[in-house]
């Protein structure tokens, strides 16, 4: 059987999950964003999932993004089924959401113990938490936390390589 990997992208509202998958996908992303009723600092929010696909080093990578709002937590379970790794995103300028991120991480990894990395988005903006700060906060080794600009395909790819290396234990070139 030819290999392919399923990865889940999760994290609190506005962490950049949908953005990350849009930056990486080679197909039009299946997104399910709807107008947000509450003020969440952006117009839309994911209600079901994001799905994107890319081929990296010749291997198909399937990316499934979760909604961030806690009321959709039943989708976390649905989406993590069969995933080989998890990318947990947090917005580097939203430390108030870190406890929520920790909750999501514990929820997912306690049910599905898969390798994960924490991605700290918005590194292109001033006054953000660095990956080093966030590693301290979560009590994780530095290698497991990666900073990125989720709007940049190059930056998103570097984060993706980090989780793929953790999952496979091999080096990845990152050739699209």
């Amino acid at each position: 059987m030819s290999r392919s990997y399923k990865l889940v992208v999760s994290g609190p509202v506005g962490a950049g999950k949908t953005t990350f998958i849009q930056s990486l996908s080679e197909i039009p992303v299946v997104e399910t964003d709807e107008l947000a009723t509450e003020d969440i600092g952006k117009e839309k929010t994911t209600v079901a999932l994001d799905y994107g696909l890319l081929t990296l080093d010749g291997v198909p990578i399937h990316l499934f993004g979760t909604p961030g709002q806690e009321r959709f937590d039943f989708m976390w379970d649905v989406l993590v089924e069969g995933a080989l790794g998890l990318v947990l995103l947090v917005a580097g300028d939203q430390p108030r959401d870190f406890p929520k991120a920790r909750h999501i991480l514990e929820y997912l990894t306690s049910r599905h113990p898969v390798p994960f990395v924490v991605g700290v988005t918005r590194q292109d903006l001033p006054r953000v938490w660095t990956p080093e700060d966030v590693a301290d906060y979560f009590g994780l080794p530095q290698e497991q936390v990666v900073g990125m600009n989720a709007t940049s395909p190059t930056s998103a790819t570097l984060a993706l390589i980090r989780i793929l290396e953790l999952v496979t234990g091999e080096r990845w070139q990152g050739v699209w």
């Binding site: 399910t32 107008l35 009723t37 209600v47 079901a48 009321r71 959709f72 039943f74 989708m75």
Partner: protein
């Protein structure tokens, strides 16, 4: 009349028109309960699930070139849950037991959904 009262009125009429219906809910398309006869504890979860079903149904309809989504029917061995689009902002969810007249439910619920769409516009 407040929006809340208006929505409650529409839901009441729907239940009167089709007594077989066992539960009704109006939610926002991002999954917040706006009006329902469900207990509060269940309402939050039900609203989120209705919005997920509708949101996913929309993308499936789009991808399969089915046009704008009108409803999603979930049929279990014991009954139905139907989620209707109510304009751009709303979702109407209706539950009924197996053996219920689905045709009649559709007829009444689609008209209620149109009414809800006006109320939320």
């Amino acid at each position: 009349m407040s929006r809340q009262e208006e929505l409650q009125g529409i839901l009441r009429e729907l239940r009167q028109a089709v007594p077989e219906i066992t539960g009704v809910m109006v939610a926002s398309t991002d999954g917040l309960s706006l009006a329902t006869d469900l207990p509060e504890a269940e309402a939050a979860r039900a609203a989120a699930m209705a919005a997920t079903a509708l949101g996913l149904g929309k993308r499936i309809a789009q991808t399969s070139a089915l046009g704008g989504l009108e409803e999603v029917v979930v049929r279990g061995q014991a009954g139905y849950l139907v989620v209707y689009a109510a304009g751009d902002k709303g979702v109407l969810a209706v539950t009924a037991p197996m053996g219920a007249n689905l045709g009649l439910i559709h007829l009444e619920a689609r008209s209620a959904a149109a009414h809800i769409a006006q109320t939320l516009a």
